[in-house]
Amino acid sequence: MKPNNFKISLALAFLVALLFASSLALAASHTISMTAETLPNGQFAYKMGNHTSSDGATNNYPAGATIPGPALFVKVGDTVSISLTNNTSVKVGLNVPGLSTDSSEASPGQSKTFTFTASKQGTYPYFDDGSQLLGLFGAIIVDKTDGSVQSLVGEAGTITAVKRSDLKKEFVMFMVGSTFWGTEIRNGTQTPLWTNPTLGAIKDDAVRFHVLSVGPGHTFHLHAHRWPDETDFVGMNVDPNIIDVKLMAAGSASHSFTVKAGTGVGAGHWQYHCHLVSHMESGMAGKFHVVDKNSGETGNSIAGASPSGAIFGNASSEPGLVTFEVSDEPGSWFRSARADTIFSITKSTKSLEIIPPGSSVHFIMSDTNGVHTITSLLWPSGADDPIHGDHHTMPFSQTKAYRGGGIVKLDVPGLYVFTCKIHPYMFAGVIVDDPNTEGLDLGESIDLVTGVNGLPTSSDLATRLVRTFFVATSQNNWLDYTSSAPWHANYASVPVRITGGAVANLKDVLEARYGQNVTLPALFNPTTPGVGEVWINTQFEKTVGKTKPGTITVLDAKNWTIKRKIALPSINMNNPHNMWSNKDQSIVYQTQWFDTKLTMINRENGALLHNIQVGDTPSHVMTLPSTDDITVAINGENGVVRIPAGTTKPDVMMPTQGPGQTPANPHGHWITPDGKIVTPNINTSDVGIYDSNDGSIIARQKTGGVFPSAPHPIAIGVGVDKIYATNLLDHSINVISFDGTLLKTIALLADYDPISPTGPDTLKDRDGDGLVTAGVLPIQTPVDPTGRVVVTANTGGTITIIDTKLDKVVAMLPCDPGCHGVNFGAKQGGGYYAYVTSKFSNQLIVVDVDLKNPANSSIVGRISLVAGNGVPSDDTVSSLAGMGGQGIYAIPNIYNGWVQNLPDSWKAGLTSAQLNPVQ
């Protein structure tokens, strides 16, 4: 080694040692005590107790618990010790991916200490792994020891180094669900800005943003500003990548950057928002307000609605926020974050909230595996008015189903009901109540998503919808056929203000109009046995071995006893919705409608064979009669997935619309005997007919016709040469030819007066056909194998029978609230039974279909779906026994096109007419 080199080496070694020593000297230790708290709206939040640092400087923290939690600023090399005391009712931990591997949790009332070293520069989310989407998150910012922070793009485009001491403000902005949660840090003081705040800054001030996320992914965009992507471009000696949009990957993510406020663009209200279209449509935006220095404006930030603000039961001068958790739990699909408080008022639903005008409603998809929309079903007339209401946000909806949440401010008093377009029995009710009027404001009138405007809140339809809401969202309002007690519906006993300013007790009104303590009809078996088995999706039945609801109830049609319950706890089967089988009848295919999977089950023993990812929110499954290939309607997306027969992997998704067009979101498809796939496209209000060979679009026919918009086609029946499509919200059935031509529209509410208050004339023969019939909210609508009769299950609690020779309703039979699924099975000795399920009860109805005179079809059996002791099962029922009847499938499959492919052993039990249904 040459002397010179030696000298350099020595000098370098000295330098390294010096740097090492100085970093050691600079490393601080932080001792922090925090608590986890419950906020007035039921959300959770972290709260700073005390923060001391060996280097002296700590922030002034808010006195209360905040979302996001306290921002912790430390430097590389610092040690951090956080003592967390849990004052909530759930277990709470403090995960810091990248810094800490401690995933332990503190039980309610207990404390835990989390210690880690801030080993690497960066911004890190800390959060509870479980309740993070309800507010338990915050940021730890680890800065370099030299005080430098992320560089900015200066006036003339130069990359300008920034010291933390140069920053006038810092913002922590968490992207969670479809909401920003913000905190401002200014001169060492942290101020909560809550939801979608207006962030204020003075032009040319250096401002640092810490964007973080937990849960589903996002992209962050700030208008008219740009910054270097946070990479070590200096160290790598490369030009920085200048960006204005940044991905926040699903799980947890962060991105910090510095801007010079308004540089090159000037003052203004510059929007920041998530750039996912569905998140934009669900309210995920705010403003970055840059003011000129001498403008006289302060550049102060303005906080948004907060969980501690004004909501029912929590008076405050600040705008408040109620939160609904979107859940796979039956009834509580939109569950208030303060569910227990709400239940104590309503004695029934947990899906109703009350706020004063100007407060907001917030949704978070925190307890679901599916995709959803959050869509206004009804709202007070005028809420979408440009002057009094907000036509930019009401009616609230999104073009495409998604993962995330939603937030919307409500100004106009009255009743708002939100639903999910994909799962249209999910309901959240919000009453915006003017505190200066007597009674809770339901409003003068409501507008419906179907284009019905100005419907008086005193009308039968309005109160019928309110009653439907109370039944659908309250587990304790469902019909239990195993109980000898009459059916009692629990309603909130509260004064409400309706049309004309009248004030009435809601419970009294509903009981007077729709009765109370109804004696349920007795159960009885059909006298003639059926053939084979009937598989029923008791979609809401809960079992001890899994967190998600739903079982399959297998009924022996020979003697009408329950043969088996299948819950599949090993895969946490989630909301089993619809079934079909292979041609051998040996494998049953099962969709999980609030999930992403198709499940294959051994028919003989109920064992799990395969659990296959098929796409978001698969609804219905059917085979192609020619090939036995499996087709699955991907209700949360935009196509029908095919799984070739004998395989366990989808090979293609046949799109239900053209490239880049609005997703069709097909629900209950059917297949014509010659292999055309027919889908009811709920999101685009049409029936699609597709070639199953090449996936091409043959026709798309608009549906509905009774109301102006949003008919919501949901299920298909296929006859010999006609297609029947039910429109859930249009209360109608379209009859369509195989080439897509509209032949007829059957209005199911022709005899109904929706406008007047409930009375003797609410339902009478208005169409002059000599019959009084009604089909409120029609769902499944199969045609019998011979093509003679259509049996439709109507959510409103009726079964309607259509004679296909006339294409009109010829009979109406009673059903339960939430009447939902229908399919045909063979009757011993010839003919068919239509098996009918209801979501909000635990009985199966058997209809004997009269093929000679369809008007004479009648109920011949009522069978309990509750399993007695000794029924084989892979799990133990814990609650909601037998409830949630939806998809239903009779084995053997006797539909034309499929029955011909049955194995001989199954054919043996059928008559020759049943084997050749279409003569």
């Binding site: 793009v153 200066g154 006036e155 003339a156 485009g157 130069t158 992914g217 996002h218 992209t219 965009h221 208008h223 008219a224 740009r226 992507d229 990479t231 070590d232 471009f233 790598m236 490369v238 990548n241 200048i242 960006i243 204005d244 949009v245 940044k246 991905l247 926040m248 990957a249 699903a250 090159g264 663009v265 000037g266 203004g268 209200h269 510059w270 929007q271 750039h275 996912l276 279209v277 449509e281 935006a285 403003k287 036509h391 930019h392 946000t393 073009t399 998604y402 796409g615 997306e637 935009n638 196509g639 997935v641 090979d651 998704m653 053209g658 490239p659 880049g660 067009q661 609005t662 997703p663």
Partner: protein, 347 residues
Amino acid sequence: MVMKCKLDVDFLDGKLHNPLPQVMRRPGKQKCLRIVLITLFLLMMACVQVQAAGTATGELHKIELVAEKLGGGYFAYRMKQHLVSGMDGSNEQNITSRYPDFATIPGPTIVINEGDEVDLTLIHQFNPDAPGEDQVSVHVHGVHYDILSDGTLKYINMVKDESAVPALVYEYKWHAAAGTAGTWPYHDHNMINHNGAEDKGLYGALIVNKKSGSVDINLQGQRKAAPLSSIQKDYVLYMLDDTFAGTEIDSITGQQTYLGANPAFTAQQGTNVRFHVIALGTNLHTFKLAGYGWIDPGTNAIIGEKAMGPLEKHVFTVRAGISSVYKDTAFSSNLLGMKGNFNVHPQ
């Protein structure tokens, strides 16, 4: 900032084709007066700004863009005219023939240099009888513009609805100031509601080239600089929720070829070609070009796939070697066949 009152006789007479409240709330005369004042003020401001920034050496692009309604629920932008001149209007060239003469998805790719300015006039050509579609805008990313060129509604910018409407064009002014080089999306922000109709076809790309720059390219596993002028083809590739949509540009002539859904791109073997991938919609994606590695912008890293979310851009240059397939590897995108060919022809 110039906002023109379109000389529509019916409109000036107060006889509107289209009795939409949107137009009725904004009487034309008043609007024109205000516009003239704003125009004068802003012109002065713009001059001051340009002088201060000392970027008067760039070019001025006068662009007329038309927003059209197509069948099938699609909307699209069409290039009506693109004139390029010196900042003082000298040496004006008409380069409109570089673009397709019909509305395309994605819309026209606007290619400019750092230092240039753009006067973009947007013309609304939907069915004037369709309520809810009475506003359309252009919101651009990346470059400089003042609050009146944000392309948003008053609901957001607190100043005015920055939209073309059936009776009025809207003019946006952009300044590709130093520090704004890169590829940026532009899209509608105002149709139907304050979120706009970017998901219905109203989007395109703005490419701001460095004046005399180079691009990073992966040569034998090393990051090397290649002159910008060596790029033979630019591919603009929008990555939607269920399809790609793209345009191929001959980088030498500037000629743009609309290729539509899941486009097949072509290149001569051994030439440098540049991909401009932009995501749009609700889904997250992972973009992959099989068999290729490229420089992740802002780093030395050579990558073969990139996770992306809506409105992120990812720009990279490769030397065309083998024919390949680009795709999105997300689960449903894969099943939907969301991919296209990269066809490399031997010299």
